[in-house]
Symmetry: C2
Subunit: 327 residues, 2 copies
DNA sequence: CTGTTAGCGCTTTCAA
DNA sequence: TTGAAAGCGCTAACAG
């Protein structure tokens, strides 16, 4: 019952292990009769090839390691889904490894991937790309997500700037003049890029009011409260992410201001709740990111890589009821 | 740069490969000097052991295969998080494999796990447990989730009945008399168990009105509309899942009925939206399910398994504003 | 077309 | 305490 080997099959079929290997792998140079005998023997024994042994022999595992800082939420599951879709379509498995803040742990986790996978997709937990690159086993091809490719490998970047620009154009197009941006936490790269892109895309005659936030719902609420207290006039709020936009919506409702008539509200990310609340936002299509990451890595593994070192994924503007009145 | 082997280390340290192996694995019978030389050589070469080769030799991979029908949503990511938490705490990796409806594909996916993983956690895509069990490579220990353990292995079950019973008690406790249950699709096991448990826990003097649904939001909306049309009187709705409860809430609001005063509303699952809408529901703690599944599997692998074949995970009643007025 | 054989990189008896 | 050597299960020359 427990694991017939290729040798057992060879014995039963009365051929050599080489013939079994050839027959089972569909090579051409096998006599039909031989192949039939092998297939029959394999079926009779319930033979299943031992992937580990195969990998060792071929020096290929057909698996890719996925290293993530954190396994939370929608973001993660979409990314993994994209990775899996592409990987399984091309005959690869996914080996998951989540990495916590601890550096040593991270280094060990990466090392134990050697000999298990052919390459790595890494969503770096550290701000410092060089430091992260240092942890990688030099022998493993790697695709980084959202980290500049300091290590000379491939890197996939979310184009936060482009997303923020698209939102700027949208708000201007619907005639908004005095726009508030609620930022993410200081030091957060995504937050910074969104602010920069937004500011850069805004025409001179549009006023931009920047209010600090930290990507949490309460901070969005607080931002609106502060604006009210200070008596600041504005006709649009672009929150650095959807959670803060949701908080802003709540505060605006309490303050009795009409959305989108008085104030247009929008966020970034397109979390599931955004659809429910009809929030205009920027969708970061993580499924696509995952699929591209897997595709680039496998291309590299199979020696047919073409693309540039850095590839940008452009997020998509999703216009909903918080910026335009719905028909 | 690319992958020093144990032999390289041995050569540099001027010892045998056996000594390198012993030194690196921390065995006792190694002279301190030897160990030091080996460690130095390993560090100099940047040696990282080849997990694949190690597995083959030890007949242990320290990986567990996770086979899921579908990688969608919160449900999935919570489950994986639980699996990963337990697995990585005990030194195991997770190898992901999603299985589509196609049987042959499923069988192949399962087979290619042999030699890659030490055991399997399977969330069966098929209603028929026996058929699913048949696909499993007989040699791999397996924990099934939400499938009766027809195969003689371990099985983790979500206790839908217990959840529905808890909800029944809650609704009765708050004085509801004529209760509607919106069912899931016919043939769905979860849906059936929820209905059965709910019915069984309701006292004789409480009226139960069963309305068909299909686990979608529109079907929850439609159910309420139908009740209105038919002029049916009721003071509570227990939807078979949260999505339908959300639909029901929307329809009730349109119909101008007050929640929870006129009608108490509750669901099942505790999706993220439920918290936002303050929906009373039953939380299925998938993280716990995942962690238990990994724990049971690893226990079995390491020969210290104790528990029963079937283990029930009891979901938790979460009381919110759609059944009781919030303080 | 088929069998023999030498590895893949590591662990582990078995002797020394 | 150490080294030589035999595998783990499979693939891939290389001869026949």
């Amino acid at each position: 019952m427990a694991g017939a080997t290729i040798r057992d099959v060879a014995r039963l079929a009365e051929v050599s292990v080489a013939s079994v290997s050839r027959a089972l792998n569909g090579l051409a140079n096998v006599h039909p009769d031989t192949r039939a005998r092998v297939l029959a023997a394999a079926k009779e024994l319930g033979y299943v090839p031992h992937a580990g042994a195969r990998s060792l022999s071929l020096a290929r595992t057909n698996a890719i390691g996925v290293v993530l800082p954190d396994l939370h939420g929608e973001f993660f599951s979409e990314l993994v889904r994209g990775l899996d879709r592409e990987a399984s379509a091309r005959g690869y498995h996914l080996l998951l490894s989540n990495i916590h803040a601890d550096r040593d742990h991270a280094a060990k986790a990466l090392r134990t991937m050697r000999g298990r996978v052919d390459g790595l997709v890494v969503l770096a937990p550290y701000a410092d790309p060089v430091a992260t690159a240092d942890l990688l086993p030099a022998s493993l091809p790697t695709v980084m997500i959202n980290t500049p490719s300091a290590h000379g490998g491939v890197s996939l970047r979310i184009d936060n700037r482009a997303g923020a620009e698209a939102m700027a154009h949208h708000l201007v197009a619907i005639g908004r003049q005095r726009i508030v941006h609620v930022t993410g936490p200081v030091g957060n790269t995504d937050a910074q890029e969104r602010l920069d892109g937004f500011r850069a895309a805004l025409p001179e005659d549009i006023e931009l009011i920047v209010v600090p936030g930290d990507f949490t719902e309460p901070s969005g609420e607080a931002a609106v409260a502060r604006l009210q207290d200070d008596g600041v006039a504005y006709d649009a709020i672009f929150a650095g992410n959807d959670l803060m936009a949701v908080g802003a919506l709540r505060a605006l409702r309490q303050a009795g201001r009409a959305v989108p008539q008085d104030v247009a509200v929008c966020g970034f990310d397109d979390v599931p709740l955004a659809g429910y609340l009809s929030l205009t936002t920027i969708r970061v299509h993580m499924t696509a990111v995952g699929a591209r990451a897997a595709a680039r890595l496998i291309d590299a593994l199979e020696g047919c890589d073409a693309g540039a070192a850095d590839e940008w994924i452009t997020p998509e503007l999703v216009v909903r009821g918080t910026t335009v009145t719905e028909s």
